[in-house]
């Protein structure tokens, strides 16, 4: 058993595509998942989040076997590239849904939401609607929701891809700050080799549904032995 994340011999078939993953991500680490588009990065994330169920093998998350569990029963928080907030609900509600999916909030909960918003730099934005925020602010709000959920695992699918480069830097440092505070296990799908260096302890390279390389970030960025990876790093 591991406290982080483990995919033990996980097999999955979606249409004509075959996937096979076998790896372990240690607790409290930040792992970057990279690979060409269509390689299976999102499927990798979906297997952990529970949006895909493995045909074979086991998925272990935070010390428990979650292979057959529904997404809501897995101890994970999620941040996508876009549409992380329900655009018709204000920030308080959007973040509050992270605590109680039926929005039964105590005064304490509300306090925690305000603190989380404060922490991500959105203090006093409780009543704001997502449409009035910038892209960066919306991602910050998603971070705030991840904060209040207090889940040991944070899964992110290209969370900064839609932001401009300056914003990416500040978001990355916010992510690292929060990671240090909570000690959660982070898996982040990214297209950007720079982001791997900036954020991750470890990195995984996926191609055609297989993990081709897994290494510490430093080693990973230095590798040139796998042509696809070399291309990715140089591209």
């Amino acid at each position: 058993m591991v406290d982080g994340i483990a995919l033990e011999n996980v097999g999955l078939r979606l249409g004509v595509k075959d996937f096979h993953f076998d790896c372990a991500l240690s607790a409290g680490s930040v792992t970057a998942v990279t690979g060409p588009s269509g390689s299976g990065k999102s499927t990798f994330l979906n297997l952990i989040a529970g949006f895909e169920t493995a045909d074979s093998g086991r998925v272990l998350v935070a010390g428990g076997d979650v292979t057959q569990k529904h997404p809501s029963e897995r101890p994970v928080s999620l941040i996508f590239q876009d549409n992380n907030l329900f655009s018709h609900l204000d920030l308080l509600t959007n973040v509050g849904l992270g605590i109680s999916p039926s929005l039964k909030l105590t005064a304490e909960n509300r306090k925690a939401i305000s603190n989380a918003l404060e922490r991500v730099g959105l203090g006093g934005f409780e009543k704001r609607m997502p449409g009035t925020l910038s892209g960066g602010e919306r991602q910050r709000a998603a971070f705030a929701r991840a904060l209040v959920r207090k889940k040991p695992i944070l899964l992110m699918d290209e969370p900064f891809a839609a932001l401009d480069p300056g914003l990416r830097l500040s978001m990355a440092s916010l992510l690292l700050d929060l990671h240090r505070e909570t000690g959660n296990t982070v898996v982040i799908v990214t297209h950007d080799p720079e982001e791997v260096g900036r954020l991750a302890d470890h990195a995984i390279f996926i191609d055609h549904g297989r993990i081709l390389a897994q290494a510490s970030a430093k080693e990973f960025l230095a590798r040139r032995d796998i042509p696809q990876l070399a291309e990715f790093l140089s591209g």
Binding site: A49, G50, F51, H70, P71, S72, E73, R74, V76, S77, L78, F80, D82, N83, N84, F86, H88, L89, T93, L97, G98, P101, S102, L103, R149
Partner: protein, 539 residues
């Protein structure tokens, strides 16, 4: 971007259509008002008119409420079950009532909900003594729900499918229970479109003619449109018809004004069939609920259609096809539908090109702006002045010139054209707009214009949407009973009129057979239309 000649030509065409339509509607209105207007005024709010008005609004309100109430769970269930077996066919089934002539639908409903129908035999076996009545208010409501519930369900489903896929991932990852998903995700999406859908359905039901004519149980269940028809055709009481027409125009104006305040419901953005993955509603209760909702709706829709098919198949179709009555009616219907369809397409093109020409003016003055909005409004004029009212006006206008029946085919074709106009423009305008955006710079720089441009650049691309629009308009005209009802007679018999008169004289076997034929033709045309539209939308 347009040459001066092109611009002038466009505006001239637009003005011609505008004047033509305005004259057609204006003469009808003038004939109505100049006929005994004083007497009509006194008879505006008699107890009878008042009750007809009340009933019209009451049945429309109930129909709207019921349609949306039933559509909501169906749309939610279909939204939550993207992998439901045969889902694509169920969604397509929901498009069928739109293309089915109302009269044919009514026949199918009588087959199922009539005294001798499946539902009542079932109820009788269950020991229920009072059967469901297909006549009167209950019948009108059943029929309106049959035609409008699927429309509402499709529009609601489209609204749900437009939501970002991440919403469903998030809500299940956050562990929302079905009610929370409904409260925080589905309902807010539905609530945004419901006013528009409700407005549309209310309008359709408030101006419902054929259903009320066939299923209304006499004066207690009569809408304004039917009352206008009766006061002319039954009583020949023009002043009552005029009074009722004024009431009708009044309420449609109010409804249209109300609708214009809501966002228009729209299913074009959604591909209806693009499916989001859903992770909620995995427990058996939710499954049972969804399956029940989808199955009930499917059965409700499919039974009357099956009944048309079965009853029609019993008729001697071959003999019907060979009968001279069928040939005459089919020829008349086809001639009217083709005229109406071509006229509708031509007028739409004129209106669209005129609006484009006006938009092309760099500094449009007030007259140009007014003309542009007048053109837009003209297209929807028929919504304000319904076919029966137009028919009534022309009836009175032409009476001094002899037998009105002689002019009837032309009148019916023009009225059908006006009815099709809003739909045709909705199909053509976006297609032409896209096409122009893509080609106009290039054409202008190459100096292409006139016939070469038409043949080489426009027709190959626009042929499909033009055919789509034409088949839509023709299906509408082929299935229409409203315009022809005022004039229908031994001399002017269209297919729906033939079905209606055979239904009236209870040659039901023949009526059933004809209904099957007509229903199949109209559905075929509509499907041709929607298929083309879908492809045009993607291409």
């Amino acid at each position: 971007m347009l040459t001066k000649i092109e611009r002038r030509r466009g505006i001239a065409l637009g003005l011609t259509s505008l004047v033509g339509i305005a004259l057609f509607v204006g003469i009808a209105a003038f004939a109505l008002l100049s006929w005994d207007a004083g007497q009509a005024q006194n008879r505006l709010l008699t107890a009878y008119n008042w009750r007809i008005l009340q009933f019209t609004l009451w049945q429309a309100t109930l129909s709207t409420l019921l349609s949306i109430t039933f559509a909501l769970p169906v749309a939610l269930a279909l939204g939550r079950r993207p992998a439901f077996p045969g889902r694509i066919w169920i969604v397509r089934l929901m498009a069928l009532p739109m293309g089915l002539p109302v009269l044919i639908g009514a026949l199918g409903l009588i087959g199922i909900w009539g005294r001798q129908g499946v539902v009542n035999s079932l109820l009788l076996n269950l020991g229920v003594e009072q059967p469901v009545s297909i006549y009167g208010l209950s019948g009108i409501l059943i029929a309106h729900v049959f035609f409008n519930m699927p429309l509402a369900a499709r529009l609601l489903l489209a609204a749900l499918e437009r939501l970002p896929a991440e919403y469903w991932l998030l809500s299940s990852s956050l562990g929302m229970k079905p009610f929370s998903v409904f409260r925080f995700v589905e309902w807010p999406a539905a609530r945004r479109v419901i006013p528009g859908i409700a407005g549309l359905i209310f309008m359709l039901c408030a101006t419902s003619f054929t259903l009320v004519l066939v299923l209304g149980g006499g004066p207690a269940a009569t809408t304004l449109e039917v009352a206008i028809y009766q006061s002319l055709r039954f009583d020949f009481d023009p002043s009552r018809a005029i009074a009722l027409s004024l009431l009708q125009i009044g309420i449609t104006a109010v409804i249209l004004a109300a609708i214009s305040r809501f966002p228009a419901p729209d299913d074009t953005d959604s591909s209806l069939g693009r499916t989001n993955r859903r992770f909620d509603g995995r427990n058996w209760k939710a499954k049972l609920w969804d399956v029940a909702a989808i199955l009930l709706a499917t059965v409700f829709l499919i039974l009357p259609l099956t009944s048309i098919l079965l009853a029609g198949a019993k008729a001697d179709l071959w003999k019907l096809l060979m009968s001279s009555a069928f040939h005459r009616a089919a020829w008349t219907s086809f001639a009217i539908a083709l005229s109406a369809g071509l006229l509708a397409v031509a007028t739409s093109l004129a209106i669209i090109s005129a609006r484009r020409a006006l938009a092309d003016i760099r500094h449009p003055g007030r007259p140009a702006k007014i003309l542009s909005s007048a053109l837009a409004a003209t297209a929807s004029l028929v919504l304000l002045v319904p076919p029966v009212v137009l028919g009534t006006g022309w009836f009175l206008a032409l009476r001094p010139f002899g037998d009105v029946a002689r002019f009837a085919p032309v009148l019916v074709a023009i009225i059908n054209m006006l009815m099709a106009l809003p739909f045709v423009i909705r199909i053509l305008a976006p297609a032409i707009e896209t096409h122009r955006r893509r080609t106009s710079r290039l054409s202008a720089s190459l100096g292409l214009s006139g016939l070469p441009q038409l043949l080489r650049i426009d027709l190959p691309v626009l042929a499909k949407p033009l055919l789509t629009a034409l088949s839509f308009a023709m299906a509408l005209s082929l299935g229409d009973l409203g315009a022809v009802a005022l004039f229908g007679s031994g001399e002017l018999t269209t297919l729906p009129w033939l079905v209606y008169s055979q239904l009236s004289s209870y040659r039901t076997n023949d009526a059933d057979g004809l209904a099957l034929l007509l229903g199949a033709i109209c559905l075929g045309l509509t499907m041709l239309g929607t298929a083309g539209q879908r492809r045009a939308g993607h291409g």
